[in-house]
């Protein structure tokens, strides 16, 4: 069973699904979405089976496949996962069906077709699996860049009113980062060529290199810039609020939930093991950026009037925490960071989805167009609150465990930065609860206001979006969550609570990979897997 090429299948299945969808006639919308859902569930199944086949105590990289690809460049099509990559694959597996379910009834405006939307989504899934599963740096780079194209079309074709600007900005930022990384990738190859006598891109071989510290710093910076743009660290973050706000909700979930994690994943997978000396030397720089990100993004988030922008800014703050955990160089903090990557995907994904539901009901992204929704839609309010609480890491939700691990693991090594970052938690409580309070409590406002003294909110962004809910009529705002919406949100709600109470299985999965990474950097992995704080044991 473990010989089955799970990773290859997880790349091929959605890619083939996307091709089939693209070839379907435009009239078969219902068939298209059914097929998209079936394919994404199949990928989830594959991810789960891969997890079963994965032995946490075994080799560092498992489920490996390797075929020589471009012999002249020393490139092979090499796949393999450690626990860190595996949990990201699981996250992708869970989020994609949820996202497809969330836009189940949406219509594309104009001549655009939802079939295309599903096709791009599946292609994106295929590329995302590839980027996490690649164990060849060249292959990683290829997926890293190609991944931009489906997201570019998702934002540009199906996004909000300002989608052209957002799509191009997203693409150019990422491309620039990617190209800088390409210089480092080639540089790595040249170093390997002079050291090993034969150029290679294989991660395991590159890890053994003994690179001159000066060169290490340059190569590190190349990778770092790409990842810092991807995972946006301040000051490379300005594309994310635009992309997050203009992307259709489903794509926004995947963008912030998974795509941007490639950045933090890249720190952990590539920056640390390949350039250990440079990582240690330059860690203060990264930590400064991380902490600035935590505080700055939290403050800016509080000032946002657009809900999607607000959620995007909260993510920038969270990425700061993740970077802090990674560059604190302790097993606990790094395990927390990886767990944070998963939990943030779930919690922010859930938050984006409920915000999307609110927007599709009200036809506006502006917070001021809402008020007193809780009385009319108690279920929606409940899920929104849960997502918000998970986002601000309340104990009992999944994010608490990871945030706690990051802070407790970082404190002994970087007390100043940790204390500064901790204040970010307070700010997080403020921006989340303020948004919740304004939208769901207080007197009915905006779209819920009594008709006479209400001019219909035409200035809201969402109303001219390409993807719209069937009928964003004024009365529909009264509707609570439908059964379909509940079914879509339920898995994420269950994960928020489940992983909040019992995160140990994930930690066990992640820990060996993190320990191996830490020993690459020369940090003593030290002892056993961290226990889940506040766990049930």
């Amino acid at each position: 069973m473990s010989d089955f090429p799970f990773l290859l299948a997880m790349i091929v299945v959605p890619a083939v699904g996307a091709a089939v969808l693209a070839a379907l006639p435009a009239t078969r919308q219902a068939l298209a979405r059914g097929l998209a859902m079936a394919v994404s569930l199949l990928v989830l199944l594959l991810a789960v089976l891969a997890t079963v086949a994965f032995d946490p105590g075994g080799a560092r990289f498992q489920l490996t496949t390797s075929v020589s690809w471009i012999a002249d460049f020393g490139v092979s099509f090499a796949l393999g996962v450690d626990g860190i990559a595996l949990v990201m694959l699981l996250l992708i597996g869970v989020l994609v069906p949820v996202v497809i379910g969330a836009s189940w009834d949406e219509q594309a405006a104009g001549t655009r077709s939802m079939r295309t939307y599903w096709a791009w989504l599946l292609l994106l899934e295929s590329m995302m699996v590839g980027v996490f599963a690649a164990t060849d740096v060249f292959l990683f780079y290829v997926f890293f860049e190609v991944m931009l194209i489906p997201m570019y079309f998702l934002i540009g074709s199906f996004g909000g009113p300002n989608r052209q600007y957002a799509a191009v900005k997203f693409f150019l930022y990422s491309l620039l980062g990617g190209l800088v990384m390409l210089a480092s990738v080639i540089g790595l190859y040249v170093v390997s060529n002079s050291e090993l006598g034969q150029g290679t891109f294989a991660f395991d071989a590159l890890r053994q290199l003994d690179i001159d510290p000066g060169v290490q710093k340059l190569l590190f910076l190349g990778f770092f810039v790409a990842f810092a743009i991807k995972a946006p660290l301040v000051p490379f973050h300005t594309w994310l609020p635009d992309a997050g706000a203009e992307a259709p909700i489903g794509s926004a979930v995947l963008l912030v939930g998974v795509l941007d994690k490639v950045g933090t994943y890249g720190f952990l997978r590539y920056c640390l093991p390949l350039f250990p000396d440079a990582s240690r030397d330059l860690a203060p720089l990264v930590l400064v950026l991380a902490v600035i990100g935590v505080l700055y993004a939290a403050l800016v988030a509080m000032g946002q009037s657009d809900m999607k922008r607000l959620v995007s800014y909260t993510s920038i703050a969270h990425f700061g925490f993740i970077a802090l955990g990674i560059f604190a160089f302790s097993t606990e903090a790094a395990t927390g960071a990886v767990l944070y990557m998963v939990n943030h995907g779930i919690a922010t994904g859930l938050l984006f989805l409920v915000v999307g539901i609110v927007i599709s009901r009200g036809g506006s992204r502006q917070i001021r167009d809402y008020g007193g929704l809780a009385a009319k839609a108690p279920l929606l309010a409940g899920v929104f609150l849960l997502a918000g609480l998970a986002s601000l890491a309340l104990p009992g939700t999944n994010s608490f465990v990871s945030e706690f691990l990051v802070l407790i693991g970082s404190f002994p090594r970087e007390p100043v930065f940790t204390i500064l970052a901790t204040t970010g938690i307070v700010l997080a409580a403020l921006y989340i609860l303020l948004m919740y309070q304004r939208v769901f409590h207080g007197p009915p406002r905006g779209v819920l206001a009594p008709p006479p003294d209400d001019a219909a909110p035409t200035d809201g962004g969402g109303s001219t979006a390409v993807l719209t809910a069937p009928a964003p009529a004024r009365t529909s705002v009264l509707r609570d969550l439908s059964r379909r919406e509940l079914a879509v949100l339920a898995p994420l709600v269950a994960l928020v609570i489940g992983l909040g109470v019992y995160p140990q299985p994930l930690i066990d999965l992640i820990d060996p990979g993190v320990q191996a990474t830490m020993s690459d950097v020369g940090v003593d992995p030290g002892g056993s897997a961290p226990e889940a704080p506040g766990g049930t044991d």
């Binding site: 690809w69 471009i70 012999a71 002249d72 460049f73 104009g110 001549t111 780079y141 290829v142 860049e145 190609v146 931009l148 194209i149 079309f153 540009g156 074709s157 989608r163 052209q164 799509a167 191009v168 693409f171 150019l172 491309l175 620039l176 190209l179 800088v180 390409l182 210089a183 080639i186 540089g187 190859y189 040249v190 060529n193």
Partner: protein, 514 residues
């Protein structure tokens, strides 16, 4: 002075040249003697036989390493690879020339070029269905000159080849059926600036001869080694390089490129962008690697600077363009800069990847750019081709296939992975970094990012903008254009995903004798 003896010619090794020049010569006869009705099919067939025959010949000759014609011609791996590449581009261009389904007047070329633009006869000609067939022999002569250019082992032959390839191109540029004044302006401009470039080349030739006493590349190298060169030699080399860079449209010798690319018939522009670039870089490689390979210090700073200027000029000025043909012209200038980064990677004792990488890049760039120009011929309004950017708005809704192909070619030109453009860029950048030229590569990457903006702008227009109500129509391509599009798109994809075989070929062909 003894009697002049004819040098011995290795006819087999020269068979690619003989095919193309033969087709050109017979084409002239056909033009004179064949009845008008059969001329077009005969000429097309002849030109295709010439180019495809040359391609087959280069494949059969693979592995030949021979200096012939009294040391004036070198038939080696690099010459054959580049001749084969030129033959492919030539065949594809001939197919584009022969397209008769797209233009209502059945050809993109004016029937009688000498008629003054705007005159009564000219207006009659617009609706005439007479077809210009002289373009095929002209193109064949140009192709022959290009192939000779890449194999010339002697500066005089190189100059002759330069003229043989240039003169037909000047003519071809002026033959557009529509917007004739623009086309004629392009021809004159190309001719005048081309003449300047030729003069530079000749002056450089004279200086090099004065410094070394020989025009043969190997003799120049030996003289450089024994006598250490001197100012005269370096100056001569610089002037030769200027002449060649003009043909390769490297900034700052690029000023003709946008005007000529815009004014020339689009099929000719495609031909120039793809094939002339190969020929010019073939000559650059041979000149620098064979004659000055042992004196790398003389040309390295020059090429280094030209590469930077060309990449930045192409990327930055391309941003301001509103015409697709001009935009692709600036793209061509930027790509010339990327090619020069490959030229830098000569490596100690010829060990670098520079030669193979540059040759591979020439192949990938030419195929992609041919495909992109072929698409430009399809999108038309009442006045001919609709090349203004705004006219392409919303094209994806009108013609999904054309928009998808264009987006694909543009992504390849931008160098996105899984397209041939990326593989090529990777190859030249690797060659440059191996040789320690990483600052150049960093600039190249920045230029790529800037240039990506204007490629993306077209994608944005086609896909994300609403269609203009009185937008252009998308012509249904005839068989020739369809073949060209199929081949170029397939090659752009295959060389991006599985480039191994062709990369190996380029690597094993990276041999320069002489």
């Amino acid at each position: 002075m003894g009697p002049i003896t004819a040098p011995s010619l290795a006819y087999t090794a020269l068979s690619p040249l003989l095919f193309v020049f033969g087709a050109a010569a017979v084409g002239v006869l056909v033009e004179a003697f064949a009845p008008r009705a059969v001329r077009h099919p005969v000429q097309v067939a002849l030109a295709l036989v010439g180019t495809i025959g040359a391609l087959v010949a280069t494949l059969l000759l693979a592995g030949t390493e021979e200096v012939t014609a009294g040391g004036a011609l070198a038939v080696d791996g690099a010459a054959l690879f580049l001749q084969g590449t030129i033959a492919i581009f030539g065949a594809l261009s001939v197919l584009l020339f022969s397209e008769r389904a797209v233009d209502p007047a059945r050809s993109a070329f004016v029937a009688v070029a000498a008629v003054p633009a705007g005159s009564v006869r000219d207006r009659e000609l617009v609706t005439s269905t007479r077809v210009q067939t002289e373009v095929y022999p002209l193109a064949s002569f140009a192709l022959g000159g290009m192939m000779l250019f890449t194999a010339s082992n002697d500066l005089l032959i190189m100059f002759v080849a330069l003229e043989v390839l240039s003169l037909p191109l000047y003519l071809l540029c002026g033959l557009a059926r529509r917007r004739r004044l623009l086309s004629q302006e392009a021809a004159v401009k190309y001719f005048l600036l081309g003449a300047f470039a030729s003069a530079f080349f000749l002056y450089g030739l004279a200086l090099v001869y004065g410094a070394t006493g020989s025009v043969q590349l190997s003799a120049i190298r030996d003289a450089g080694v024994t006598e250490g060169g001197g100012t005269l030699l370096v100056l001569g080399m610089a002037l030769l390089v200027v002449g060649l860079m003009f043909k390769a449209s490297v900034a700052p010798f690029h000023t003709w490129t946008p005007d000529v690319y815009q004014g020339a018939p689009t099929a000719v522009t495609a031909f120039m962008a793809a094939a002339t670039k190969v020929a010019a870089f073939g000559a650059v490689l041979r000149l620098l690697y064979v004659a000055f390979g042992t004196a790398e210090w003389t040309w390295r700073p020059l090429v280094y600077g030209l590469a930077i200027v060309s990449m930045l000029v192409g990327a930055v000025l391309g941003l301001t363009q509103t015409d697709l043909k001009r935009m692709l012209a600036y793209s061509s200038i930027a790509h010339a800069g990327f090619l020069l980064t490959g030229v830098i990677g000569l490596g100690p004792g010829d060990s670098g990847y520079g030669l193979a990488a540059t040759m591979f890049y020439l192949l990938t760039y030419g195929l992609t750019t041919l495909g992109a120009f072929a698409l430009l011929t399809l999108v038309r309004d009442g006045d001919g081709e609709a090349t203004h950017l705004s006219q392409w708005a919303g094209l994806a809704q009108r013609s999904p296939v054309v928009a998808a192909l264009m987006a694909f070619f543009l992504l390849a030109l931008a160098g996105i992975p899984l397209t041939s453009g990326f593989t090529g860029k990777f190859a030249v950048f690797r060659a440059a970094i191996e040789d320690g030229a990483w600052p150049l590569v960093v600039i190249g990457l920045v230029a790529s990012a800037i240039a990506a903006f204007y490629y993306l702008r077209v994608v944005v227009l086609m896909y994300f903008s609403p269609a203009a109500p009185d937008g252009p129509t998308v012509g249904v391509p005839g068989l020739p254009t369809t073949i060209v599009l199929a081949i170029t798109a397939a090659a752009t994809l295959v060389l991006g995903i599985l480039p191994g075989a062709v990369l190996d070929l380029a690597q094993s062909a990276a041999v320069l004798v002489g």
